[in-house]
Subunit: 230 residues, 2 copies
DNA sequence: GATAGATATTGTAATTTTTACGCTAAGGTG
DNA sequence: CACCTTAGCGTAAAAATTACAATATCTATC
């Protein structure tokens, strides 16, 4: 490499993950408590440096697994942050990614520099390490946009869910109230929810029907020009 | 810095700019012809390495100015690309940004490693250096989304424009045909276009009224909950 | 100065989508 | 069996979208 280029090859790069989960009532994200400097003892997004020979997508899944135990997730890239002083150890740029999971599908196994990993209500997040609050905000905004134009909400729910649960999820993500009847009408008209034939068990009120997301049918509709929109 | 971290601080970072322009008929982008290896002689997006002590936003404007002469633009960040082998000289991650300009407002002054700078019709873009075709595609997609939900189209037009020009711009960006009457109705109903009182000059047909975008009025409407949507 | 050519401008009816809103059903509990 | 809780459903009004064609105004040309 030519000499005058050397000084540019002195940066580091990291990725940070915003893992959204839903527990039936609130939108949550997965945070770790750092057990190392810098920001020892602070809560932070799971994230770490990208190895020199590692692609971003591999990096995201590796890092998340090392820190929390969660693996094989599909991430969406959101925004890259490059303020000169955002990292105390040197120039580190970072890219924020988000993903959606069903909380009950995963067991948390913090390790590496994560002293602890925990699901935190999005509205209860306090000051995080680095510029992670900014990254989180950016991911929340992106999620709010995406959830209106793609049926990603289903990735947060168990395979069988009630329409009330689905509506609650949208309300939690968008932070708004939706009309029960209009919501049901709209979703059912889209024709990609299948009744499972089952109903809720052990509830002390009229049990709700359980539905499932029919991905095949959704893809068929999409290929015919159908556009999801809530 | 601790030893085990050293190996991470060996990457470089660059930014690449997609500058969209409109000449009244076609959507164009600004490309440079590289006069240096790697990819000597290839057409490429204007872009270069970020200095170790430089913020991303400063970098974008500096680089674009050095290569093409255009300065002081507002950019939107789109996507970061990090394939391990995307740059022949080492590990270089890059972030793509786009901006919109009125072509006639700027004179092109290629310098630094740009042997040439030219406006190219978006549909005529051939093979570019590095992964720049991918970056371009990503920016086009983002532009097509953004243009429907924010009145950014006006940034591509001269201060005074006709409704036909505005419609042509939307058709060029979105690659679709719009109904004349419905388009005019929709845009005029939004109430942030002001008649200038002037009409086209030197046209060999009925001259069209010239309008201007009333930003103050738009901001007022927006603050009242109005949502732009085409 | 009459005519042809080019683009600008405008309205309405039909359809679709969105919104607002309250009552009955089905199960469990005490 | 009375009560509590959530599920499930329909309709009318309003708003937005779509489809569609005739006239107006200017220049150029004969």
């Amino acid at each position: 490499m030519q000499d005058h280029l050397q000084k540019y090859f002195t940066l580091a790069f990291s990725i940070d993950c915003v893992v959204f989960g839903f527990d039936g009532a609130d939108l949550k994200i997965l945070l770790i408590e750092r057990g190392e400097d810098p920001f020892d003892g602070f809560w932070a997004l799971p994230g770490d440096l990208v190895a020199p020979d590692e692609d971003l997508n591999s990096s995201v899944n590796r890092v998340l697994k090392e820190l929390t135990g969660l693996s094989d997730l599909f991430f969406e890239q959101v925004e890259t942050f490059g303020a000169v002083d955002r990292h105390p150890l040197g120039r580190v740029l970072t890219t924020g990614y988000y993903t959606l999971v069903k909380i009950s599908d995963y067991e948390l196994n913090p390790s590496s520099f994560a002293a602890e990993a925990r699901w935190i209500n999005v509205n209860d997040v306090k000051e995080l390490a680095f510029d992670h609050n900014q990254i989180l905000d950016s991911c929340i905004q992106r999620l709010q946009k995406s959830v209106r134009t793609r049926p990603i909400g289903f990735e947060l729910l168990p395979p069988h869910f009630t329409l009330t649960e689905l509506q609650g999820l949208y309300e939690a993500i968008l932070n708004i109230e939706l009309d029960i009847r209009n919501f049901r009408k709209k979703i059912l008209q889209m024709n990609f929810l299948k009744e499972t034939g089952q109903v809720q068990q052990n509830v002390s009120h009229r049990p709700a029907k359980l539905y499932q997301f029919d991905e095949e049918q959704y893809n068929l509709l999409k290929s015919k020009g159908f556009n999801f929109e809530v």
